[in-house]
Symmetry: C2
Subunit: 341 residues, 2 copies
């Protein structure tokens, strides 16, 4: 099921710290693509499961970090600072640090507090399931998906480290990358992930807490099943994700409340809700984001190339804000971008 992908030899050795759903899936994918990957986890059972799955696993973090060129932090946000401090102590001085978290600015704060700010580039693969833990991980989960790759600001990032992460995403991961500032990522993630999680939770709470909850349960069909699916993911993880991005989630929810109040007022006064239900008609005609794909390359379209000359990170950030995504990166010929669908 794992397709061919780009070159892996230039990546060197990769440490994946944390063998949960995402860390486990990433380690499986990199190993399947021939990358020299070594992983670890604080939970012995997860390490054993990963070994049985054929992965190279060390029992402790310092051993995992020895001689690596890239460290992927795949641990919960609450342990990020403590783990980053260990990475600062034990990883080679030149190693680049990245992560796979769903909120970027708080991770950068933690990594910077550990003294790794100059070596850090953020990353966030846009994939997941309602399950968690290594047992739920899968070699295909992160294969070919969209990633966000984040910088604090384009002028401040180390271009070679950014290139390293883009090579990881577009090479062995077979994916494409949108290069964003942390803030743009966190604002957009609030809209397409964190607010959906809050509303799914609200739907589940309201239906199951109502006097007619037994009837509601019997009547629940497609719209309720889909609308509440992510409310069945680990609520502690959702709470942590939403809380970590409170700065963007709160104003996005304020807008939800304002918009809903207009709908309620119209429903209560026999007014029109036509504009509300038809506001996104253009988008409906264009297909469903996240279902109809975002970066399928049209046959024969070779994309636009950005050479890796001075200022290229800023050029990628500018283009990605406009909806393009990086599909390949080659140190000599440059980065290839395509418009997202």
């Amino acid at each position: 099921v794992v397709s061919a992908a780009g070159p892996t030899d230039a990546l060197g050795r990769v440490a994946v710290v944390g063998l949960g759903l995402i860390g486990g899936s990433l380690a499986r994918l990199l190993a399947a693509r021939g990358v020299d990957v070594v992983a670890t986890d604080v939970v012995a059972a997860s390490r054993e499961s990963a070994r049985r799955a054929g992965l190279a696993v060390t029992d402790d973090l310092p051993a995992c970090l020895a001689g690596v060129d890239l460290v992927v932090l795949a641990v919960p946000l609450r342990t990020m600072l403590a783990v980053a401090e260990q990475v600062a102590l034990h990883a080679p001085a030149g190693a680049t640090v990245t992560d796979v978290g769903s909120v970027k600015a708080p991770v950068r704060d933690a990594v910077r507090a550990a003294g790794l700010g100059e070596r850090y580039v953020g990353a966030h693969p846009m994939s997941g399931t309602e399950h968690s833990g290594f047992e739920a991980s899968d070699v295909g989960l992160l294969d070919g998906v969209a990633w966000a790759v984040t910088v604090e600001d384009a002028a401040g990032v180390d271009p070679s480290r950014l290139a390293q992460i883009l090579s990881l995403v577009t090479g062995p991961c077979g994916g494409h990358a949108t290069v964003l500032t942390d803030d743009v990522h966190d604002e957009a993630a609030a809209l397409v992930s964190h607010v959906p999680h809050v509303l799914a939770t609200q739907l589940l709470n309201a239906a199951t807490g109502a006097p007619v909850h037994r009837v509601a349960r019997v009547l629940a069909a497609g719209s309720f099943r889909d609308g509440t699916r992510v409310a069945h993911t680990d609520p502690a993880r959702t709470e942590a994700m939403v809380t970590a991005n409170a700065a963007w989630v709160a104003p996005a929810l304020r807008k939800v409340v304002r918009d809903l109040e207009l709908v309620i007022d119209a429903l209560e006064s026999n007014g029109s809700v036509h504009a509300f239900f038809h506001a996104a008609d253009d988008v409906r005609a264009a297909g469903i984001p996240g279902r109809d794909g975002t970066a399928a390359r049209p046959p024969g379209d070779t994309g636009e190339t950005v050479e890796l000359v001075a200022g290229w990170p800023a050029e990628l950030v500018r283009r990605c804000l406009d909806g393009e995504v990086v599909v390949t990166l080659d140190p000599e010929s440059g980065a290839t971008l395509l418009p997202a669908r």
Copy 2:
């Protein structure tokens, strides 16, 4: 793909008026189960498609209604009154009338205005897709699903007509039925269907209307795809459904707003959102409504039987409000009920 089901001979002839997604799927299912079913639609192309699918189709409504024992109104709510008036003119005087609409009280109002109130029992199959029209209909769409079967009040319904509809649902449709008053149905439907549709629309509007909408589109993954799926159904149909049930949708949305304001206040003040995210933990442990099934019969469980003696409709309404569902109906042995899962 269509499994065996209960007896069909007692149903007599059934007219399905309207060959959209639901009417088309019902006509296909009844025909596959050997029911004498005849259908029609005002759109010639839909009639032609249905004929090509092997269904018995008449060009006009009076011909469709000739000699039938049961009329299923599968037309939009806005045309319900006009169609019901035609049914009152052309259907046999003894024929029972039902429908498949997603809101019950307004349908009863229309049917009563046409003079058919005494002959009407409401019905609502809890299934659908994001598509519409006969081309999207499928013999399996309504096979074995949950139905709501509604009465204005249990004392007022004609028991023989209620039995007729329950036989349809639990017999050739292979489904199970929750017998409700119109109001309980419409309140529960607001919670598990109409509010989810509003929130899905809101999510789509907010993400696609934001300054970072191009980035949001690239980052959209599972939670956004699921959370907005029903926002891609025909918005005019959704608007009509929500507007028709405004009396229940508006207060349910007011509760959404109140709950979200508590979440926002907590996020803005570093307060706790723990209770919000964990309110439905019991439900999470019990499985996902609409995904994990509602009425799977445990092996060896033959259910409880309610004999069809005086007052049986009230007994069914009482039990269904408590979460039981009707799985079989036999004029001699009675109705069998099982607890919904």
